[in-house]
Symmetry: C2
Subunit: 335 residues, 2 copies
Amino acid sequence: MKKLAIDAMGGDHGPKTTIPAVVLALKQLSDISILFVGLQETIDLAKKTIPADLLQRVEFVFASEVIAMDESPSKVLRNKKDASMRVALKLVKEGRADACISSGNTGALMVLSRFILKTLPGIDRPAILSRFPTKHNKPVRVLDLGANVDSSAEQLFQFALMGSIVASAVSGIENPTVGLLNVGEEEMKGNEQVKQTALLLSESDKINYFGFVEGDALFTGIVDVVVCDGFVGNIALKAVEGLARFVGGHLQQAYRRNWLTKLCFIPLMSIKKVIDPRQYNGAFFIGLDGIVIKSHGSADQFSFLKAIEEAVAEVDKNIPELIKKHIDQYGLPGS
Amino acid sequence: MKKLAIDAMGGDHGPKTTIPAVVLALKQLSDISILFVGLQETIDLAKKTIPADLLQRVEFVFASEVIAMDESPSKVLRNKKDASMRVALKLVKEGRADACISSGNTGALMVLSRFILKTLPGIDRPAILSRFPTKHNKPVRVLDLGANVDSSAEQLFQFALMGSIVASAVSGIENPTVGLLNVGEEEMKGNEQVKQTALLLSESDKINYFGFVEGDALFTGIVDVVVCDGFVGNIALKAVEGLARFVGGHLQQAYRRNWLTKLCFIPLMSIKKVIDPRQYNGAFFIGLDGIVIKSHGSADQFSFLKAIEEAVAEVDKNIPELIKKHIDQYGLPGS
């Protein structure tokens, strides 16, 4: 039985999303139990909403505070000692839960995760890892998507290693290829940061280094793992989300004019499953001594379920343990 | 009469695109003349293809070499003294042409442009500026999209100034707003580079500084100009192109299955004009003492025409002169 701590209060919609998502998860995944962390009124609501046969796999954990989506992470760290997000992370620390899932304030979740769980031995900083869709239904794993700015070459190497371990363990890719995000594929291109990282990666026999890749590698599937600084990764991610919203808005306008154009929308349904960003919800805060999954703040119950499934996959393979073992055995450059 | 030097040999399709594009441009723009630069056989073909009544506005300029799309810029600089791209740039330098348009090798075009035209006084480095589509048909101008990596705060300030001048002169936006690309909108976010640049921008009374913007600002229209380091800008641009190709490919698959689904594709035509990347072809190498427009390598005749129109707009307002005047009058921080 995998035990998942859910921050019931996080995200734009809070319990309106998390309660139905928990119901869905309990129905679909028979090998999980939920530690549902929230305010008293939310717990009361959940007890009424979750069907009786599923309730036996839910434990309710009370928290007296909620972290707002725009609160400063440093203030949260100092002041909100009994926030639902923090209580959920503590459950992981104490070994009562195998993973924590929250769609709350990203900055606060990162700061609290580092404070409570700490990074793994040898890992300087956690990174945000997420999957991007490509042709042939083979996702690319990309990190760091914004946990850090100004990462060193050694830290980018650590990200590359952790990304490889996840791609191999979770997706079963043997010897996954790693690309380093750059402005061109030629060796002399890029800034000092990527040139130094390329050197470390090409010298390692533990990483299947492909070479530099450009921004379109997020969607081509040319490599299994794309590594970048969190500054670049976050901007690229937000740019891509911006385009998706822009085009999505225009598509809706074009097809919702009358019943005929609405009918024409139907073929789109067949590709929705492939390109639906909800499919790819659930970013992994990798490098921590514990499993933390960040769901998108605007997640609905379906996409929150995807984040829960992502957590289950990481728990299944015990990713932090795999990383720890690898570093124990082979070490890391520069340490 | 605006005189435009066209590198007839550049791009994935060379003269197959540039000749019909020149015909289109001469038909649609009565106030331009063309300096058509290419190999002898290409000139012969163009003479046969371009209708007689338009030929009087075309001057043919012979070049003996062509730069391949994957040639190293530094080798090009040393060895290809009579390449069509280089000859076209020299026409601008000598004052025989008002602008040069090429869809050739981007790196070579940048290196040759800097070598032949030099940067404007006070400007350290040219930047690549392009327009992105947003709601309400109001484009955002974004720079630098990849001319530089590791720009200093002073250089990013120069980009902001040049972007403002173009937005104001070409699009008639009074006091255009400038956003600085970052991983969040809060003041304490980001790396040293953006923090220092933010300081310079907020101290200037010549730039209408909006503050930090995130990656989605490329498509929201929240600001008129987005400034970023070329490393970040290029990766974001390529990521966005990658998503567009990925989704475009799936859309085609979904709608080209049979005649019924093909029919359903029709409503898409209405939005094609808005989201068609060909509409936005033509990147401006800004900061040079001369006007250079880079067309996408895969441009067709329609999108190459857009690049020509972009050149005409910059020539119309004499952007390099406006930048020079502004710097003469007000100076720049750090100089």
